[in-house]
Each structure stands twice: as structure tokens, then as C-alpha cells.
Symmetry: C2
């Protein structure tokens, strides 16, 4: 696959691609999407600023504008994600292939960093990413680590987990630390009970993990956090991507590296 | 000096310390302060999010609250800076030792990363910081590098400059990259004309540089940018610290390192 990000987005826009985006436009940043109305945008942005590990903001559109100017100036947020979820008062009410019928002039779209970027860095460094090896979804857990609240937004951090040998865990800390805007280094490793995870084999989202002998669970702050927290706060309307159906950016993962 | 940050802030609050804060509470983060009214806070936060190199936000208070909960939960932003500047419609109208007489219930205070933190890292790494050696203020220049606008806020980036040998410049890139929330790695090095600096010996702020043979100018995004940009947009009221009279945080510089 050597299509550019713009070419992939065009196929998504035309409905030719209607599938999870993992593996498309390799090397390009893929992002979580969250759309709220302008009156809630400050609280949402402030929540993200106070919780940069789970909620690293990559771009914020101007109210009513569908253009993410920093990450993909030629894109249209209303058409360029394969599938959207609409939530009303915290409850999912609809799925759409584009936002033509629901777009509002007071919508503000947030693009939020996604673990795809640091997993690419891990794979490039020769580190195993188990759920990719096993063709499963990453396991995610609602922890007891509180986020710092902001306005109406509050809740606990969701973490994704990747099992690693202690030596690989140490290397993964270094490799992922280069990318603070896509969750960066892990937030915890070791005994799951200490962060409120009762049964590592029963994740709250995604598929159960495959943990091999001698491996420890390593937890990263997860981009599901802002959606979960926003859902808990029950805004009148909020729109997100469907999990796995991400927004593909012009920027490259390596553009986000701080060193 | 082995006072804690809280002890230093207490002396500032009581008026016992009324001087530039460089060198106080070594190892603790010192921060730029910018206070705007709630109606402008979203645009200001968005401007910062879009321009994280010059405007790295460390903390944002809730509207009307004087408590920076993340960086110094016991502090009071109204009393704990030695000297404040008040700007009205972009013009400086007053200096105060505390904000008792001017505090408003709709004020939102932003703490913004300061180069003191990465200069400490440079000194710890054995790198020369010329303006400190020479007991001068760092030279700062208004460049032709445009910031990404947000709402009413727009303008060019202000950069601080430190002259270094090429070998030291390379090392300084690595040392300061560890601290993206206090401006991080440089934004430019070499010919000043390429970023719109006509005369390196005539900075727009601070003192003229001392550049030795074989040294090149190395430019970092500067925390004066958000103030300069905010001033250009002429908000009805805005309050800042007096340059050099910074807010001292409980957190340590090393708390901000990403690796």
C-alpha cells in the first residue's frame, strides 16, 4: 500500500473504503475523532489539557469548519471517516457514513492521538505487539486512576494493555516516550489490581489478552478515555468515529516525535 | 538556597521577596502568567494548543479560582507573583504587587512554560548559557515565523537565542528535547535573516547577545510569544507577571521531562 493519505481519504469519502483503517496509509498518523458543540468545547479542550496522557489533542477545528488545518488541511471531517457514531445525552442513537444530514454550524471537531502511532514505533523497533500478532483488538480497562476534572467532564482513565517481557517493557518505555502526543510512555506496569483492574482476562473494551510466561502487563493511557468521559457527562449531542474507523492525517507519525 | 517552593511563595506573598525570581527554589518549575476573562479563554487555550512550542500550557485555573491545581495546589495566583502588569486594550496601564484590587470572578489564569527550566537542564549537562554567564537578560527576537491563529489571537513567534558551538548546539537539541512542555528543542539555528531577524545585535526584547568566534545562533520558541500575541489582539483586560518575576511551582523541572 503506497497510497497517500489524501488518496485514501478520497476513497473513504466516495464509500469505496468502508472498513477499519488499521494498516491503511502506513506511517501516517491516524486519529480519534470527537465532535462537540461550541458551548462545550472549552471544557472539553481544558479536560484534554489537564489530562494530556489519555487525551493528547492533535487538532481542533474552528466552530462550524470541517477542516483540520494542522493535521490534514485538504480534508473534510464530515466525509473522511468511514463510519461515525452519534450520541445523544450519552446514548448512542445513530451510525452514519457521513455527517451531511447532522452537521451543525456550532460543531467543533477534536482529533485525538491514537495508539496506532506508537505501535508502529514499537514494531519498527522490533518489539512485539501481541494483539496485532494475534489479530485481536487491544484489551482496554477502566482503571481507578482519576482524570483531573474540567467543567462538566470527569471520570477515570481508560488504559490499553500490551504484555511484554521486563526487558522489552523497558525498551517500550523509551520507544513510546518519543511520542507524547500519541499517549507517550506507559502510565503503569505490573500488578493490575493496583490500578483497579480486577481481572486482566476480562477487559472492559476490546478482546481478552494473550499473556505468555514471564511477561508483565504494561498499561498505556488510552484514547477511549475522552469519549468514555464525555459519554458519562451526557452532552446533548456528541459525534465520534466508530472504533477502529479512524481519521487518516496528512502528517506522519515521525512528525510527532519529540526526539 | 534550600527553601521549598511554598516557602518562597509565602515570602513573595508577604512582600519580603520583591525581585526577579531567577535562582529561587532551584529545580522547581517557574512559569509565565497570563490572565484573561472567561469569554476569551477558549480562544487563548486554542491558540496555545495550536502553537505548543511558544505556548506550552502547564496549568489553567477554573474561572474565578486563584488556585493552579496541577502545578501548585496550595498557591494563590493573586498574591504569589512578586509583580504583575495590567494591560487594558493592549496597553500597559498598571503594575501591582498583588491582584486584590483588580481580581474578577471571570478571570482564568494560564501558567505557561518558561525557558528557565530547559536552561537548568543545559547547565546540568555542562552546556554554556551565555546570558547567564554574562549576567544579562536573554536576547529575544520577533521572527517572521507565523503562529497558527485562533479566534482573535494571531501573530508571529518570538524566539529567544543562545549562541553555541555546532557541537554544543547538537547536544542542546537533545537535552532540551526532553522538555516539550517548556518549549522543548530549538525551532531554528543558523542565519538569523532566514527567520526575519535583521540584526542579531539588536534584539526586540532583552539584552544584546555576546557571540564568540565559531558559535552559531540557536533559536528557541519563547514564552513572550503568547503575551505579545495577546497584546496585539488588545483584549479589554489582561494581566501578566512582570518579566523575570515568575510564578514558582511546586512541581520540579524533572517532573516535566518526557524521557
Amino acid at each position: 500500500m503506497n497510497k497517500t493519505a489524501a488518496q485514501i481519504r478520497q476513497k473513504i469519502r466516495e464509500g469505496i473504503i468502508d472498513a477499519p483503517t488499521a494498516g491503511l496509509a502506513p506511517g501516517h498518523v491516524q486519529a480519534n475523532l470527537a465532535i462537540v458543540t461550541k458551548d462545550l468545547a472549552y471544557d472539553f479542550l481544558l479536560f484534554a489539557q489537564r489530562n494530556p496522557k489519555p487525551c493528547p489533542i492533535l487538532d481542533v477545528t474552528d466552530a462550524g469548519s470541517p477542516t483540520p488545518r494542522l493535521m490534514a488541511p485538504g480534508a473534510d471531517i464530515r466525509y473522511d471517516v468511514p463510519r461515525y457514531f452519534v450520541y445523544k445525552n450519552g446514548v448512542k442513537t445513530d451510525e452514519f457514513k457521513n455527517l451531511e444530514s447532522v452537521w451543525q454550524d456550532d460543531f467543533v471537531a477534536f482529533l485525538i492521538g491514537c495508539s496506532f502511532s506508537f505501535e508502529t514505533a514499537m514494531l519498527n523497533a522490533g518489539l512485539p505487539v501481541r494483539h496485532i500478532e494475534e489479530k485481536r483488538n487491544v484489551p482496554m480497562y477502566i482503571t481507578n486512576i482519576p482524570c483531573v476534572p474540567a467543567g462538566t467532564f470527569h471520570g477515570n482513565m481508560v488504559c490499553s494493555m500490551r504484555p511484554l517481557s521486563p526487558a522489552d517493557a523497558i525498551r517500550a518505555v523509551k520507544v513510546t516516550a518519543r511520542f507524547p502526543s500519541v499517549h507517550g510512555s506507559p502510565v503503569y506496569l505490573g500488578d493490575p489490581a493496583a490500578i483497579g483492574v480486577k481481572d486482566i482476562n476480562k477487559p472492559d473494551f476490546g478482546d481478552p489478552p494473550v499473556i505468555r510466561g514471564g511477561e508483565i502487563p504494561v498499561f498505556w493511557a488510552c484514547g477511549v478515555t475522552p469519549q468514555a468521559v464525555a459519554m458519562a457527562s451526557k452532552p446533548p449531542i456528541m459525534i465520534t468515529h466508530a472504533p477502529g474507523y479512524m481519521f487518516i492525517c496528512d502528517k506522519f507519525d515521525e512528525d510527532l516525535s519529540v526526539f
